[in-house]
């Protein structure tokens, strides 16, 4: 079984059946990471290039490990070590990489839409590993998998996504993903961090975290992206933490067995207190673990089996 598409660019353009196929495939790959010999031969002879124009530890490592556990050859290129520093355009870099016949390019880029642009230029598969403030599909998929494993379903759940929605590609992908699988999505953050007409993406927007997380099954705390903020969108980290930070007191508004997610890296004491981040409701490390399985599934579903 393969996906009938060349690329994974957004959650927005994935169908519910495609998302479910990715999640069930990921579930079957999860066990590989628990083996003593953590490798399957499925993608032997395939070449995957991780092309990262932005700093990343978790996502890049996760894609690399996923590729290697599938026996593909994985090459990592970061902007600081590539010809981008010599002024080469993204298009030229991509065309040159393609000349070396990779099967898939995993792209992270600070400009929204670059995976789309690249996918139109290249014959090989393109996976979006986060583009600007647009989407981060593999993150949403691993979040869906994590919630599904813990709570047994997505349909009918109440999800709250809290924080800097404006700058968050994780938020956009998750709003689409959870909504497509039948969950109810609330978002909250200061009005300065709310994008225009965001409710049209299929969520309800609140200004107070307490309203958004009321009776929530899942709370996803977003990282305050200090590097993307040119002007202060809130007065101080202290004030942000008081109003929007998740601590055990605010947690009382949510359902009893609420699940807490965070895409990382965590700003401890700002968007989430350490006791909550490390507490029994937190699935932050489970998310990371599932990330490898989801990315293995994506590689498999794009490149596995017989070539078309």
């Amino acid at each position: 079984m393969r996906l009938k598409r060349k690329d994974i660019l957004t959650i927005e353009d994935l169908g519910r059946d495609e998302i479910e196929l990715i999640l069930s495939t990921a579930e079957s790959f999860k066990e590989v990471s628990d083996r003593e010999i953590k490798k399957v031969p499925t993608l032997r002879g395939r070449t995957i290039i991780n092309l990262f124009y932005e700093a990343s530890t978790r996502t890049r490592t996760s894609f690399e490990i996923a590729a290697k556990r599938m026996s593909a050859d994985a090459i990592n290129i970061s902007a600081s070590s590539s010809s981008a520093v010599k002024g080469e355009t993204l298009k030229d870099t991509a065309k040159n990489l393609e000349a070396m016949s990779p099967d898939c390019i995993v792209l992270r880029h600070p400009s929204s839409g670059t995976p789309q642009i690249l996918s139109r230029l290249l014959r090989c598969s393109v996976i979006n590993a986060g583009d600007g403030t647009h989407e981060h599909p593999s993150q949403a998929l691993l979040d869906l998998l994590t919630v599904k494993q813990r709570l047994g379903k997505i349909q009918g759940l109440k999800i709250a996504i809290i924080g800097d929605i404006l700058h968050s590609r994780v938020a956009r992908s998750n709003i689409y993903g959870f909504a497509k699988l039948g969950a109810e999505v609330n978002i909250a953050g200061p009005p300065t961090m709310m994008p225009c007409e965001i409710e049209k993406t299929g969520c309800r927007a609140f200004n107070r975290i307490e309203d958004a997380i009321k009776d929530a099954d899942v709370i996803m705390m977003l990282r305050i992206q200090l590097e993307r903020q040119k002007t202060g969108l809130f007065p101080t980290a202290r004030e942000y933490s008081q109003l929007f930070g998740l601590d055990s007191k605010k947690l009382e508004y949510a359902k009893k067995n609420v699940v807490i997610l965070h895409p990382g890296p965590v700003n401890r004491g700002i968007e989430i207190s350490s006791d909550v981040a490390d507490g029994k409701y937190s699935l932050i490390l489970e998310q990371v673990k599932n990330g490898v399985a989801v990315r293995m599934a994506l590689f498999y579903l794009l490149m596995g089996g017989a070539r078309e």
């Binding site: 880029h109 929204s112 839409g113 642009i117 583009d131 600007g132 403030t133 049209k200 993406t201």
Partner: protein, 433 residues
């Protein structure tokens, strides 16, 4: 002496109140007569500088004037030159164009203005009227030598491409420009608001994860400039109006009797919404950005009720290398000279404006605003700048066939109706469709 006789067309000249089947006769580059059934010269005399054009079934009107073109020369000849830009103008039916000052070097002194005029006289297919810079190097800090720019042939002042950020400086410029009755064309943008926006702020920008530019960015500056025009009595022209709010501000100013204020709109701003950006189409990236349907509707009403005086292209050639990049890194602007006429004719088809009103906005009004007293009309003695339009010609935009040196248009592949059949400058045919 060249003699031109255009026979049998429907002559539309709002400036002299003519609309009907007439012949147009021009001698030595000037209009000599617009009358029914002018006699055709004997066949033996036709070789002696005569040009007889049969315009049966076609529209004959005073030549179109684009008051907002970027010709890119000097400095950016890889995007456009005076030669290619004026050829594109001729192909679009424009007999005169006003070119903006953001060249390199900036047209902030007489030598650059004279260079442009000299080049245009040597290589230009149509008339070129330079717009001088308001401030030296477009920095918005010190005044350019405005008197000298006037002497050297500039028809207006503008720092277009950039707003004048400092209100005190804008007041100074408006006051000083009065000395020469100079028009100031204002690119209205409050730079402090959404400084890194790359498209209209709305659902599409949210969806695409691109930084938005709210309408208020334009509205604030239009309001300021109207207030300053009221304060100083200087002549203000609002460039490339893109928002409903800006249209309303200009309408309100005119209703209050401020006769020193005028405005233009570009065809793309009354044709496309920000949905054209979907798929990260950099050929739909320009400043001001493509807006919402409500803004398009407001611009159309503004054109209909006279709030917006002129249609101007904001023809902004950009090389493929400046467009074929990440969306937020792509250069702003689209070419417009060769698509302006058919896009504007849609307004007639939709019943927004009459053909007469359209000709007014493409010819008579820009001539009046820029003070081109010998243009914008087919009255006797005026320059024989004439555009003959085939309203029914259907064609498909093919960037490879466009005359402009750059190909950055969102209209490639569009089915169009109407084009210039002949473009005539000073009695000579410079383009045949």
């Amino acid at each position: 002496m060249n003699r031109l006789l255009i026979k049998g067309g429907r002559v539309i000249d709002p400036a002299s109140g003519i609309d009907g089947l007439f012949d147009v006769y021009a001698v030595g580059g000037k209009i000599a007569a617009v009358k029914p059934n002018l006699s055709t010269p004997a066949p033996d005399s036709q070789s002696d500088g005569w040009n007889i054009i049969d315009a049966t079934g076609l529209i004959v009107c005073s030549g179109f004037i684009d008051m907002h073109t970027h010709l890119r020369e000097p400095g950016y000849e890889y995007k456009e030159t005076i030669k290619t830009g004026t050829m594109a103008a001729a192909a679009g039916g424009f007999t005169s164009i006003a070119c903006m000052a953001n060249t390199n070097p900036v047209n902030d002194n007489a030598s650059v203005a004279r260079y442009i005029l000299k080049k245009a006289a040597e290589e230009g297919a149509v008339n070129v009227f330079p717009v001088g810079a308001i401030s030296k190097e477009l920095k918005g800090e010190t005044l350019a030598e405005i008197g000298e720019l006037k002497d050297s042939g500039c028809v207006a002042l503008s720092d277009d491409g950039r707003p004048i950020v400092n209100s005190g400086f804008m007041r100074l410029a408006m006051e000083y420009a009065k000395l020469f009755n100079f028009l100031i064309i204002s690119h209205c943008e409050d730079t402090g608001l959404a400084p890194d926006g790359v498209m209209n702020e709305g659902f599409i920008s949210t969806k695409l994860g691109l930084r938005g530019i709210p309408n208020a960015k334009e509205d604030i500056m239009v309001a300021r400039d109207i207030a300053l025009a009221e304060l100083t009595g200087g002549r203000l022209h609002i460039a490339h109006i893109s928002t409903k709010g800006a249209v309303e501000l200009v309408r309100n100013a005119k209703q209050r009797g401020l006769l020193n204020i005028s405005a233009e709109a570009a065809p793309h701003h009354f044709t496309l919404t920000d949905e054209a950006v979907m798929g990260y189409n950099t050929n739909a990236k320009m400043n001001p950005p493509l807006r919402a349907k409500t803004d398009i509707d407001a611009i159309k009403i503004g054109l209909k009720d006279g709030t917006i005086d002129a249609i101007a292209t904001d023809h902004a050639p950009q090389n493929i290398d400046e467009k074929d990049v990440e969306f937020d890194k792509a250069a702003n602007g689209i070419i417009g000279l060769e698509t302006a006429l058919p896009l504007s004719l849609r307004l007639v088809d939709e019943g927004v404006v009459s053909l007469n009103t359209l000709v007014e906005k493409l010819s008579a009004n820009p001539a009046k605003i820029l003070g081109l007293s010998t243009k914008g009309s087919l009255a006797n003695g005026k320059d024989a700048d004439i555009t003959i339009v085939d309203l029914n010609m259907e064609w498909v935009v093919d960037v490879k066939k466009l005359k402009s040196k750059s190909k950055n248009t969102p209209f490639n592949g569009w089915r169009m109706k109407g084009m210039a059949s002949k473009t005539i400058v000073a009695g000579k045919v410079v383009y045949e469709g």
